[in-house]
């Protein structure tokens, strides 16, 4: 379970995330939506331990991400929007490292690896250096690394960017299966059709504030538009000037590039 309690994050005079409180329960797929610079990436960075909240608490599986960060991270799998892999390791060596970090036994690793190799069709390139991978291959390997240790919580940032239609299908099915098996999925995305298709609940953040939290039908009711698509509802809800990007978030909604 993911629990956020009055979480705020301040960048100088800019409030990137303001009093964010939400709870994502076990087995739920939660889609986190918002325009560029809304605070999505900042929220995710706080959840995975890359940023500390200025105030408030975030708990993953009952563990505080600041005070009990290792325990929280051991229960979490994170798929970033731009996967950063070790160029000079092969896919298999990278997965082995991640498995070792999580303390997987050789038996568990073999079992997980076999399963994920089948799901993500990794076999063809698993023994090549990751520097030779395309974006799609890197993304699939990042998924495999995030789910290798069977996390109870998965945090996925823009999972469909750069993937071909077959891989998109594959990822959607995989996430559904994981949720059905009890994994909590927190997914940030700009692909509204994916959110519409997959999410049990939706959260819409804009200029650091959570504007809406609920199901798609609840959103339709709130906007009094029963036949509207999520895209129409989202645009209406977030109508107005786009927020300026916060330091942790580039205008494209990606994490800041390092020189």
């Amino acid at each position: 379970m993911i629990e956020m309690d009055c979480v705020s994050r301040v960048f100088g005079p800019t409030v990137a995330v303001r009093d964010l409180s939400l709870r994502v329960v076990q087995g739920e797929i939660f889609a986190f939506l918002g325009p560029n610079g809304a605070g999505k990436t900042t929220t995710i960075k706080m959840m995975v331990g890359l940023l500390s909240p200025s105030s408030g608490n975030i708990c993953l599986g009952g563990f505080d991400v600041v005070r009990q960060s290792r325990q929280a991270k051991a229960r979490m799998g994170y798929v970033p929007d731009q996967p950063q892999l070790y160029d000079k390791l092969s896919g298999r060596e990278f997965l082995q490292f991640v498995a070792d970090v999580h303390g997987l036994s050789p038996g568990d690793l073999q079992e997980s690896l076999g399963r994920l190799m089948r799901v993500f069709d990794l076999g063809r390139f698993l023994d090549q250096l990751t520097e030779s991978y395309s974006h799609g291959m890197k993304q699939r390997l990042a998924f495999a690394a995030a789910f290798l240790h069977r996390p109870s919580i998965a945090i996925v940032d823009e999972p469909m960017v750069g993937l071909d239609p077959r891989s998109v299908r594959l990822v959607k099915d995989f996430l559904r299966d994981q949720a059905a098996a009890g994994t909590t999925i927190f997914m940030s995305t700009h692909t509204l059709s994916v959110a519409e298709e997959m999410a049990d609940r939706i959260g819409v953040i804009h200029q650091g504030r959570l504007l809406f939290l609920g199901t798609l039908n609840e959103l339709r009711q709130r906007m009094s538009q029963n036949d509207s698509s999520l895209e129409q509802l989202f645009l209406q809800l977030t109508d107005g000037d786009e927020a300026a990007p916060t330091p942790g978030e580039s205008p494209a909604g990606k994490s800041r590039e390092t020189p």
């Binding site: 994170y78 390791l89 991640v98 070792d100 999580h102 520097e131 800041r256």
Partner: protein
């Protein structure tokens, strides 16, 4: 359906984590070596040969220097004092440089690194990440120290006929020493990022300023006006007295210098109490160094545990500074300067200049280098030299030229050479605009010339004024300026040409591009070019001038024969410069036209 399991595995212990990260490093190193052996044998061979060549040259220089010293100074105690002072100063300088370089490397490794971003999302201890990256910084900093220090120390051991254990102790001494300043730099870096993130650049400037101040103190101590004739025993004593500030007994540099001298001279004057073997003293100093190194290592881990993650987080919360292109006086000045150039050259130059000045790493260290060199030139005139020394004047003028050229060659290798590779990575921007590739490369060349020519020229003039070359023989000063022009244009052409010929489009870091084969080749070719250019003018000039300095100072214009010799040398260097520039740019243009990204 796939069953998700609740994660109740025990977290890794310290030793498990340590083994895991060493294993990771071993695997990456193994892959790197295997890849280099499989795909880049020639590059590897060149790098190894150049390293051996560099080491060998340094060793021979030090060996002949120490032999010269033994021959010139018969008094054993004075020799010992000189070496002691040299070692103290050398290791003190290294102490400061290692601390600064480790801080910079760790900052980039820890706070601007994608690997750390990944590791922070994994259940590993923050201090493990810090230690892992600190060890990398120590390795990078220590490598340079080893390469520079070991030829000097081995050469001294041979001249001093040191016992076998001196050579055995060298490596442990140096390794233990490196860890201490590196740890100090690392701790300061983490504390600055944690508590002063908004002024971290300013803090770095202050620290670098202090390092420069130390350098200036050193130069002043060495070059300040002396009361005695150069190279006399009294002069040596005075200089040794001035350099005493390096002998601080609480500093690791003193422990290292003294420990090594104890090992090198089992019977050094008055060092070891009677009855105690000399190596006992040396081992004692090694123990002090090692225990302090281990303590420093622990300090890095401890500080990392508490401040790394909050610092990383605070660094991310800084406001993004606003930049308004065109508003600065530098932009306005550049626009005025480049107005005569055809479109789109001024635009490309303005872009490169903005990128250059917004990255302080690009210019700060060269500002320091050039500043120190300028200070050194200005202070050299304080030497009290007699008539016998005037024959050195011409030689020293050309040595200035070569020195400035060598610093410039490191600049062109580190910053100009990678520019083409970096532009190649962004080729979707310029490549899709109506700008010819020729123009892009010309703009790089012009930019490099503009940035390098003025400081080099000023520095040479400064040296000539300080040594009274410009006042006594203006022709020589003009020759120096022309040679400087030839050097700058040639070095920039080599860097731009080779950059286009051997681009590295996979790498995003300019330092890594410069450290590759292309960068190494650029450095070697640049060094050869500098030697040839300066040699062509200096040899005939020196041959003529050393005998007739006094005549020359009275006679202007100088005698025809000398003038002819000088002009022929200058002409030869001009022809060499033009040929190298033409060939480098021609090869570069051809390669850049065909470049596929």
């Amino acid at each position: 359906m796939i069953a998700a399991a609740s994660n109740e595995r025990p977290l890794l212990t310290h030793s498990q984590e340590s083994r895991l990260f060493w294993g990771l490093r071993r695997r990456i190193l193994h892959r790197l070596v295997a890849q280099a052996l499989a795909t880049a044998r020639f590059r590897l061979l060149v790098v190894i040969c150049l390293t051996v060549l560099f080491w060998g040259s340094m060793f021979l220089i030090f060996l002949s220097g120490f032999q010269e010293m033994v021959a010139a100074i018969s008094h054993a105690t004075m020799r010992f004092q000189i070496v002691q002072t040299i070692n103290n100063i050398f290791f003190l300088s290294m102490l400061v440089m290692l601390a600064v370089s480790s801080a910079i490397i760790l900052y980039s490794n820890l706070y601007r690194n994608d690997e750390v971003t990944f590791l922070l999302t994994q259940p590993v201890r923050p201090q493990r990440i810090v230690v892992y990256k600190f060890e990398e910084a120590v390795l990078f900093s220590g490598w340079g120290f080893l390469l520079l220090g070991s030829p000097m120390l081995i050469a001294y051991g041979l001249v001093a006929e040191s016992p076998w254990y001196y050579y055995v102790l060298l490596l442990p001494f140096m390794m233990a020493f490196v860890a201490i300043p590196a740890a100090c730099g690392a701790v300061v870096c983490m504390l600055v990022v944690r508590f002063l993130p908004a002024v971290r650049v300013q803090t770095f400037v202050v620290v670098a300023g202090l390092a420069v101040l130390l350098g200036l103190l050193l130069v002043r101590a060495l070059c300040g006006e002396t009361s005695y004739e150069l190279m006399t025993p009294q002069w040596i004593q005075e200089i040794l007295q001035r350099l005493r500030f390096g002998e601080q007994r609480l500093l690791p540099s003193w422990w290292l210098a003294t420990g090594l001298l104890e090992a090198a001279h089992p019977h050094s004057p008055g060092s070891t109490p009677s009855g105690v073997p000399a190596w006992h003293e040396s081992i004692g100093f090694l123990s002090v160094l090692t225990s302090n190194a281990l303590l420093s290592y622990l300090a890095v881990s401890w500080v990392g545990r508490w401040v790394f993650v909050p610092g990383y987080s605070r660094l991310s919360q800084l406001e993004v500074p606003q930049r308004r292109g065109g508003s600065s006086w530098l932009d306005a000045g550049l626009r005025g300067l480049t107005r005569w150039l055809p479109h789109p050259m001024p635009l490309l130059l303005a872009k490169d200049m903005r990128l250059f000045r917004r990255d302080p790493v690009q210019w700060l260290q060269f500002l320091i280098f050039f500043g120190l060199l300028g200070f050194c030139f200005l202070n050299l005139r304080r030497f009290h030299y007699g008539d016998g020394m005037t024959q050195w004047m011409t030689m020293i003028g050309f040595l200035h030229l070569a020195m400035v050229g060598l610093i410039l060659s490191t600049f062109t290798t580190r910053f100009i050479f990678p520019m083409i590779s970096l532009e190649g990575r962004r080729f979707w921007i310029l490549g899709t605009l109506p700008v010819s590739r020729r123009d892009i490369l010309w703009s790089k060349f012009l930019f490099a010339c503009m940035v390098s020519l003025v400081p080099c020229s000023v520095l040479i003039l400064l040296g000539d004024l300080a040594w009274q070359i410009a006042q006594r023989t203006p022709l020589l000063a003009v020759v120096h300026q022309v040679s400087c022009l030839v050097l700058c244009i040639g070095l920039c052409a080599i860097a731009v040409g080779l950059g286009a010929l051997l681009p590295n489009l996979r790498e995003t870091s300019p330092s890594k591009i410069a450290a590759g084969f292309g960068g190494t080749l650029n450095l070697v070719l640049s060094a050869m070019y500098i030697l040839a250019t300066v040699g062509l003018v200096a040899v005939p000039c020196y041959a003529g001038f050393d005998r007739a300095w006094e005549d020359m100072s009275r006679q202007w214009p100088i005698a025809d024969a000398q003038s002819l010799r000088l002009m022929s040398g200058l002409l030869a260097s001009l022809i060499l410069g033009a040929t190298v520039t033409y060939l480098s740019l021609r090869m570069g243009f051809r390669a850049f036209e065909k470049l596929e990204v």
